[in-house]
């Protein structure tokens, strides 16, 4: 293991960087997109609700790998030249956003209806009430599940390996076949993943306990 670590240090660090970068980008955009579709789902407008529902159900029920490969293969053919990292991150964002939408929707719905009505009767518009009253409370509720989504995101970013996204797993495959020391290479990669995910996961548990 030590040999792998010292010999392929720069590849590993590069992989770690791409994994983190992809996860952070995907987290940022999937939170925005996810929240948007969550709001769609609670809107009084029926058409918007249906759009929200279709988006969420569609991307929740198709494997991330299929989505990522779709973007890697098909988008460059017809739409725009995007590389593996971009394609994988877009796939990751869309996939995760459907889960975040579901989580945030549950959060919004668990905020008392009276809050919205109260805010509206105080002269706030629907959007103002959503923005300043409902969403902040909903987010407080959904922080622990969102944290878990982030952990999943880091783990799921390993699909970038399938689309040459230069992430940790990709480097791991490369190192494993260069060094021909499969198990130790993947052990090192595993340790690198744990360095990110394990502290996060303990922090989330701590947070959950504190909020409960």
């Amino acid at each position: 293991m030590w040999y792998i670590l010292t010999h392929y240090w720069s590849e590993l660090i590069q992989g770690l960087g791409y994994t983190l970068l992809s996860s952070v980008i995907a987290l940022f955009f999937s939170t925005i997109i996810g929240t948007m579709f969550a709001i769609f789902e609670v809107l009084p407008n029926r058409a918007m609700r249906i759009i929200g529902r279709i988006y969420i159900e569609l991307f929740r029920n198709i494997p991330l790998l299929v989505i990522a490969m779709f973007f890697y293969v098909i988008i460059p053919m017809y739409v725009a030249k995007i590389d593996g990292f971009t394609a994988g991150t877009i796939g990751l964002t869309i996939y995760t956003s459907s889960f975040i939408a579901e989580t945030v929707r549950a959060g919004i719905q668990s905020v008392d209806k009276g809050q919205m009505e109260g805010a509206r009767s105080n002269g706030l518009t629907y959007w103002q009430a959503m923005r300043y009253i409902v969403l902040p409370q909903a987010f407080k509720i959904v922080i622990p599940p969102l944290g878990n989504q982030f952990i999943n995101l880091v783990k799921n970013s390993s699909v970038l390996a399938f689309v040459a996204g230069f992430d940790l797993m990709y480097q791991g495959n490369s190192i494993a076949s260069l060094s021909l020391d499969t198990i130790n290479s993947y052990m090192v990669v595993g340790v690198f993943y744990l360095i990110i995910t394990l502290p996060l996961s303990y922090y989330m548990r701590h947070l959950e306990k504190r909020l409960a």
Binding site: V73, P76, A161, N173, T182
Partner: protein, 278 residues
């Protein structure tokens, strides 16, 4: 009840721990049984072959079997070693999975477009070479890439396959190019088509197969390396290796080899199968 739960828990836990202990597990526990004796007993040789490589090993969707030069050579060798009723069992491998699978004993031998290289010889043994390939490039027709020299520019992306020798080579011949490693040749070809890289590099035999499936693409620049393909066998399996080499000699002598070569490469544009005959 409590006892039972605890007992089951311990079992479950042991199962989980197993996985993590693998790294600490000594490499010697590798099944070092004699492959030849086992294969004679079961009348079967298990070969690792490609399933995504036209001409060498390609899955036939119609009957779910792997067909190609490698597969036919493997069958011919099996018949020589085990007799007419000997069975050749095929396990699908990729460039990435083949060496671990061989070392783990999941397969007895690899016959999967595998170049004999000094690095690999530290890990596994090779038979004498059964096919002489050379690395080349596949590009879209009309591409500005004419040879490997054209790839040596910053920002050029070349597509290869994880674990293939060609990836290591291209890093030597075109150090400025960026190599994108895909998991297998089907994925690599798909990536080339979607424009993820300007060229796909691997051995000419494989590339000719791809070019024949994809009319808009051509092999350019000739070969810039020599890639003798060998059958990989675990270290310490000398009796088996001897038998394989012997069988290889026999099929070359009795014309089986040339027949198989002609069957797969006889009509491949740009490939001189007569020159490759033995």
């Amino acid at each position: 009840m409590k006892k039972v739960t605890r007992y089951l828990g311990v079992i479950g836990m042991l199962g989980l721990l197993t996985v993590f202990l693998t790294a600490c597990g000594s490499r010697k526990s590798l099944s070092q049984q004699d492959v030849l004796t086992n294969d004679r007993a079961s009348n079967t040789i298990t070969w690792g072959v490609k399933a995504d490589t036209k001409l060498f090993g390609l899955m036939d969707v119609k009957d779910n079997t792997i067909k190609g030069f490698d597969a036919d050579i493997a069958t011919a060798i099996t018949k020589k070693i085990l007799g007419k009723n000997g069975k050749a069992k095929f396990v699908q491998v990729t460039s990435q999975t083949r060496i671990p699978l061989l070392k783990n004993g999941n397969i007895d031998a690899i016959i999967a477009t595998m170049t004999i290289t000094p690095e690999r010889e530290k890990q596994v043994d090779f038979s004498s070479s059964y096919f002489d390939a050379g690395q080349s490039l596949l590009v879209k027709k009309g591409s500005s890439i004419k040879s490997v020299k054209d790839l040596n520019q910053a920002g050029t992306k070349v597509i290869g396959v994880t674990g293939a020798n060609s990836v290591a080579n291209i890093k030597k011949f075109a150090p400025k190019a960026k190599v994108l490693e895909l998991s297998d040749y089907a994925q690599a070809m798909t990536a080339l088509k979607s424009g993820q890289g300007v060229a796909l590099t691997t051995d000419n035999g494989i590339l000719y197969g791809m070019a024949s499936q994809n009319p808009g693409y051509e092999v350019v620049g000739g070969t810039f390396t020599k890639e003798p393909y060998g059958i990989a066998i675990n270290k310490g399996q000398d009796p088996f290796k001897k038998e394989v080499n012997q069988a290889l000699k026999e099929i070359e002598a009795d014309g089986t080899y040339n027949r198989i070569l002609k069957k797969w490469f006889g009509n491949v544009a740009g490939f001189d199968y007569k020159e490759a005959s033995r």
